[in-house]
């Protein structure tokens, strides 16, 4: 089931990103639904599922929205998914506040790793400004926390008899 819902979530992220890129291109460049999927997987199911979901999400993102080199987002999201899952097994990350911090950190780490990998492989990747990075982190964190909350409430309501 986990895998199915993860695949479903990645497909939803793909659709959402595609829709955003057509309707609101500036928003599509800031919002990262794939990152939200892997963070949620990491928080909910641990490091293994987090990194696998991250890898899959990253490859899909690279395939549809990436440059000529595939795998950069895949690698960054594998690492981010693993780190989030690892953090979830060691810390209490069920409240909105810590999750927001995790999301902010995930966005920063994702962008940072992308820059590092770009430099390592001599690939030109867009370097967002500090304000752009902050905006990206903020938007993704806020939307992520909201989406996570909604999703969990729905799941909890489904589990209740």
């Amino acid at each position: 089931m986990r895998v199915f819902f993860t695949v479903l979530a990645i497909a939803g992220a793909l659709l959402l990103q595609s829709a955003l890129s057509m309707v609101l291109p500036a928003g599509a460049r800031v919002f990262d639904p794939f990152l939200l999927v892997l963070v949620y997987c990491g928080l909910s199911f641990g490091e293994t599922h987090g990194m696998l979901a991250g890898g899959a999400a990253g490859w899909v993102q690279d395939s549809f929205f990436g440059g000529h080199v595939l795998g950069l987002s895949g690698l960054t999201k594998v690492l981010v998914g693993f780190a989030v899952g690892l953090a979830a097994t060691r810390f209490q990350l069920t409240e909105a506040g810590p999750r927001m911090l995790v999301l902010v950190a995930a966005v920063l780490v994702d962008v940072l790793l992308l820059g590092v990998l770009g430099g390592l492989f001599d690939i030109s990747v867009g370097r967002p400004s500090v304000s752009g990075l902050a905006l990206r982190a903020a938007i993704n964190a806020l939307l992520g926390v909201v989406l996570f909350e909604l999703l969990e409430r729905r799941l909890i309501s489904k589990r209740r008899p």
């Binding site: 490091e47 293994t48 080199v69 595939l70 795998g71 950069l72 895949g74 690698l75 594998v78 492989f121």
Partner: protein, 286 residues
């Protein structure tokens, strides 16, 4: 999460990271038409491949050398045997050639002699120190008669003193008991030639010409031939050359003659089977 799962997840992470790095590197152009991954792989694995190739080449060389060495050893044995065979053949051919040469010489002499002869081979030489004899492979069945003169291509050898059906014994001129009527060719002085007594002082390789008067004209270098007066040897056959002449206190000269026949290398000889009734002079053997 237990420790096993943690380890598994970290291994998985490492594997994923590595796979991603390879995938990314494979897409990045590393220059010279090769991807970055290919360049990394080449730079990392080329020395290993080189080392492996060198090791394999070395092993191959050692194996090839070993195989070659075995082959060389086998060839060496084969060639060694072949060389021995060829050496034997060569030796046989050389002997045959030498024999043919000797026989040609003997036959050349035989052709010019006015007497009938047969060719005989020397089977053995003198076995005792007191007598100088050789044994021939021809006897009475082949026409050899007692006292028959025996000649070589270079001069008189001796006479038959015993004979069997297919072998005969020849007394050499070197034997001190032998004797042949001789003549100094230049001055026509006659005498008797025989072997020297075999003492420690004399080597026994020379002949002695006896009964030559003191006043006779004999000088070193004179040719000595058979005189025919002994009724054994035909006249005019070469006996040797005067090597030493001494005028002593007696009636006769002391004359040493170097024999013309090479007694130490005798192998084929001519045995005279019949003498012409009124033989006078035979062409001198050179």
């Amino acid at each position: 999460m237990n420790r096993v799962e943690t380890r598994r997840s970290r291994l998985l992470l490492a594997g994923l990271v590595l796979a991603h790095l390879v995938a990314i590197s494979n897409q990045v152009d590393g220059g010279n038409g090769a991807s970055l991954f290919q360049r990394w792989a080449l730079s990392v694995f080329a020395p290993l491949q080189s080392g492996l190739s060198g090791a394999l080449h070395g092993i191959g060389s050692v194996w090839t050398s070993y195989a070659d060495l075995r082959g060389v050893r086998r060839d060496n044995r084969r060639l060694d045997e072949r060389v021995r065979e060829l050496e034997l053949q060569l030796q046989e051919k050389s002997q045959e050639a030498a024999e043919a040469h000797r026989l040609r010489e003997v036959m050349a002499v035989r052709d010019v002699l006015p007497v009938r002869t047969l060719v005989a081979h020397v089977l053995s030489r003198d076995g005792t120190p007191w007598y100088r004899t050789v044994t021939l492979d021809s006897g009475s069945e082949e026409g050899v008669r007692l006292d028959a003169p025996v000649l070589s291509s270079t001069g008189v050898v001796g006479r038959v003193i015993a004979r069997g059906p297919h072998a005969s014994r020849v007394q050499l001129l070197l034997d001190q008991q032998s004797g042949a009527g001789a003549r100094i060719e230049r001055s026509r002085i006659s005498g008797v030639v025989s072997g020297q007594p075999r003492t420690s002082a004399t080597a026994g390789g020379d002949l002695v010409m006896k009964y030559v008067p003191m006043l006779s004209d004999v000088v070193v270098g004179d040719v000595v031939v058979t005189s025919g007066l002994d009724r054994i040897f035909p006249p005019g056959l070469l006996l040797g050359r005067v090597r030493f002449v001494k005028t002593g206190a007696g009636l006769f000269k002391e004359i040493l003659v170097t024999p013309s026949a090479r007694f130490d290398t005798l192998e084929e000889v001519l045995v005279v089977t019949s003498l012409p009734p009124d033989e006078t002079v035979v062409e001198q053997l050179k």
